[in-house]
Symmetry: C2
Subunit: 333 residues, 2 copies
């Protein structure tokens, strides 16, 4: 039977076009193994879908309301119960879809997921997870923004959930888990990190390798890096700016060196290949919201059709592997 993925057709800066295009690509390349449900206002989404011609394995599910990027998450969840996010999540809740994904308002996705799906038993706080390109591949970082003021027990759960994710979805038998801090020594860091270090050291289910520093992220000293959502989000956005600022800086230097046009062209090619390495398309298209009762994936607001396609496949893979079940087991006392 095909795996059914509900997709928020209205989420992201270039919705619905880019989302529908990614969905069409995923449906086409799956050769019947996927069934995509595009959630959004029928009058908006249907014409876009039709512009791609006849595609099998894809349908529109009517959702009359849309939550904007600027909407307050909590208010939107209450006042727009028929948003594309709600409708998609309800499909998943009612087992009419096996997973849900959105490139929309992150706070609203997290809040609506809690409201519609609920959290897994024992979970303090769900966590937004992302992947970070490194010199050696990619590492998983969580939390990157759903929890602004965390406690040590929260970070310990993030570590358990991140470890289970890397095991199930990235095929790493014993993921190396590290805690983001300002020095390797256990005594380094703020109160939160020092208390969390203690908890992780004593957690026999984790392959905890200790603290890593800011400089270790890009060099992939760990498979999963755990931090609180405030710092994770700052780091995430700082990292995104590398691929806008550093090429600009290199270009400034090439100009100073009076590089020939052919040399500049080659550099631009290398940089655009590098930018693709920083593109979520290369590592699953989006990251999971771990800790809720279901398979929910969140994409970047500026997502591409390629990333949408990848994320649909990743969400289907998570549903097939029963990721939520694995997370729940990892959290069991």
């Amino acid at each position: 039977m095909a795996i059914r993925v509900a997709v928020d057709a209205m989420g992201g800066d270039q919705a619905p076009t880019v989302i529908v295009e990614g969905a069409v690509r995923a449906a086409q390349s799956s050769k019947g193994r996927l069934q995509v449900q595009l959630c959004g206002p029928e009058t908006v989404v249907q014409p876009v879908l039709e512009s791609f011609g006849a595609v099998s394995g894809i349908e529109v599910v009517h959702a009359p309301e849309v939550i904007g990027m600027g909407d307050s998450p909590v208010a939107a969840v209450r006042t727009k119960p028929n948003s594309s996010i709600h409708v998609g999540l309800r499909r998943h809740k009612e087992s009419r879809a096996d997973a849900f994904l959105s490139a929309g308002n992150t706070g609203a996705i997290a809040a609506a997921s809690l409201f519609v799906l609920g959290r897994l038993p024992g979970v303090f706080r769900p966590s937004i997870t992302t992947f970070y390109p490194t010199t050696k591949g990619a590492c998983t970082i969580l939390d990157v923004g759903s929890n602004m003021d965390s406690r040590p027990e929260h970070l310990q759960q993030f570590a358990k959930m991140g470890s289970a994710y890397a095991r199930i979805m990235m095929d790493i038998a014993h993921p190396r888990i590290a805690l983001l801090s300002v020095g390797e020594e256990q005594a380094k860091g703020n109160e939160l990190v020092r208390s969390t270090h203690e908890l992780l050291l004593n957690d026999i289910d984790l392959n905890f390798i200790g603290n890593v520093e800011g400089r270790d992220i890009l060099h992939q000293k760990a498979d999963v890096i755990v931090c609180d959502g405030f710092i994770g989000n700052v780091i995430l956005k700082f990292g995104e700016s590398i691929m806008t600022a550093v090429p600009e800086m290199i270009q400034q230097e090439m100009d100073q060196l009076k590089a020939k046009p052919s040399e500049v062209a080659l550099l631009k090619k290398a940089l655009s290949r590098l930018a693709r390495r920083f593109d979520p398309e290369n590592y699953g298209g989006g990251g999971p919201l771990l800790g809720v009762e279901g398979e929910v994936f969140i994409l970047h607001g500026s997502t591409t059709a390629g990333a949408v396609e990848e994320c649909i496949k990743t969400a289907a893979q998570a549903a097939k592997a029963n990721l939520t079940n694995a997370i729940q087991k990892a959290l069991a006392p």
Copy 2:
């Protein structure tokens, strides 16, 4: 009269050679306007100094003890009262030097500064300040590591001190002050940031422009960015890794593109120029420890002779401009 700068000759990975070389350069180029005091064990420092031939405007001040990079700051400050750091700070305290700088153990410099010089009246916590290269120059960030668990009043003082520093030392009449957060809106961020935002908004002495995000640092949306020391340190070290990881990644792409040796050579040249932009040598050589009763500058442990030379000049400039006095005025209620 010459400005007298006491220098910890034993601080940093390549001490004393690199430190002495930087000091010699500063003394030579100052043409009598500077007098450098190299603090460290006479038998170690004197021969290195002599290896540079006869240099005027420089002398060795004997300090028999050395604090290592791995020493516990608090313990070292108590058990090594005659370290090169202590001796240099005491020269400053006794007005036999107008400023002090070190590339040694940051925690020990901060702790010894508090112990020997004391804090300025009303200062909650001194703050380590650094400069960050951007597409448009450099921005000032504080705190980057001296305070792991800060309160809103601490961050407000960092803002005031950073603003005074940018005004006095960087010649910016009305420095744009921003708070590092996860969104521009006042309601975004953790509890610390939300409360600090409120304080900064109501502080008429500051040109507070609101929150900035991680992605705004490299694009210089503000002149001074305020954050707590934990996140500042993570960001600082993450930023340092850009210049090791990104060139490696670009090289990987150039190899894939089968770039010619001449093209690779040009790129390497551009990257090494860019790396120089990330070199502290270009923005004062080191950053001040703001909030103590004196002019104290801290250099990176891997400092170069050029950065030491620059930092000596910067410290002399701070002494001449009476930076500490300006900071004190900025903090006055």
